[in-house]
Subunit: 162 residues, 2 copies
DNA sequence: CCTCCCGGGTTGACATGTCAATCCAAAGCT
DNA sequence: AGCTTTGGATTGACATGTCAACCCGGGAGG
């Protein structure tokens, strides 16, 4: 009965049940992500990327940051950030300015329009998170979700290092 | 002491702890998704989208499907599928052919190259799922992950209908 | 000084997604 | 027949991501 699923270390592939959970999990988190993104978009005309950048700048001393510092802070590749900042600059949400101390570098500044857009987006965004995520789960499930995230993160980190 | 978090129905915004869990959860699932995608890419030269399409076609009777049927099956908008099929057709993974019964429609056929690419990707992909997802969690956590996904899905569905 | 390399950033090419507009043939309606 | 509607699918414009190549200003060695 269990002959076809070799024990411990021999088994490399997920069982049908494990696979079902995987698919459920990954597809559902994807839907969740896109629903939150769409609420943010329709309520504030901001993308999740915009929000992340504006959040970081808003919290930064003097509402400005070096480009690579910002990239590290939100966990993006520099190239991605550079493209995104270009689009945000066109929309007037941020401003790039050459760095005083290092002529190679660039400082990213929050503009008044950017600060305004971020302020207006915060409450609706948090409300969406509450409605679509927090309210969907029991308190136990919420805690479990946090633990699952932590376990996954830890596991991914060890695998990365290798 | 609890005066600042109105009870039941009054509170719209997540608490700091709920927000922390949200961020952990969504960021971690994102990293997980991209790590799995990158394994799939490097081991099989397929994107997650390619994989979903090839999986559906492989399991379809006669390895072919109507375009909108396929879209419904994998939960994509038709436009997205159309763009993706264009790219896959250029790479020779699938073939589009006008439908015999409905002159408006298109049939999507798996090609030999597509079937081959899918066959070669299956085991490495499943192994990646096992290594990066299943192995990261305890059996209890795995079950909890499934329940969380189900709860989220159910909640999102009711919100969608509204 | 000159060359080589490095770190900060940008750029271009391309894959992937969304949205709205369009095309076309089949049905309905008049 | 002529006109509108509907359903299947594609298209174009644009946002977002990744990857690799590039530009540019400093050093480090020679």
């Amino acid at each position: 009965m269990t002959k076809d699923t070799p024990r411990q270390g021999g088994r490399q592939l997920p069982t049908a049940e494990e696979l079902r959970i995987w698919r459920d999990f990954i597809e559902t988190t994807d839907v969740l992500r896109s629903r939150i993104a769409s609420r943010l978009q329709s309520e504030s005309a901001l993308s999740p990327g915009d929000y992340a950048v504006l959040l970081a700048l808003t919290e930064a001393p003097e509402q400005q940051m070096r480009s690579s510092e910002l990239a590290a802070h939100i966990g993006w590749e520099r190239s991605r950030l550079s493209h995104h900042l270009g689009r945000m600059e066109r929309r007037g949400l941020i401003r790039r300015q050459e760095c005083a101390t290092d002529p190679r570098g660039a400082e990213v500044h929050l503009t008044a329009a950017g600060a305004e857009a971020f302020r207006g987006s915060t409450v609706p965004h948090l409300r969406a998170i509450r409605e679509l995520f927090v309210d969907a789960l029991t308190p136990d499930q919420l805690v479990a979700a946090g633990e699952i995230a932590a376990a996954l993160r830890a596991h991914l980190d060890t695998r990365q290092a290798k």
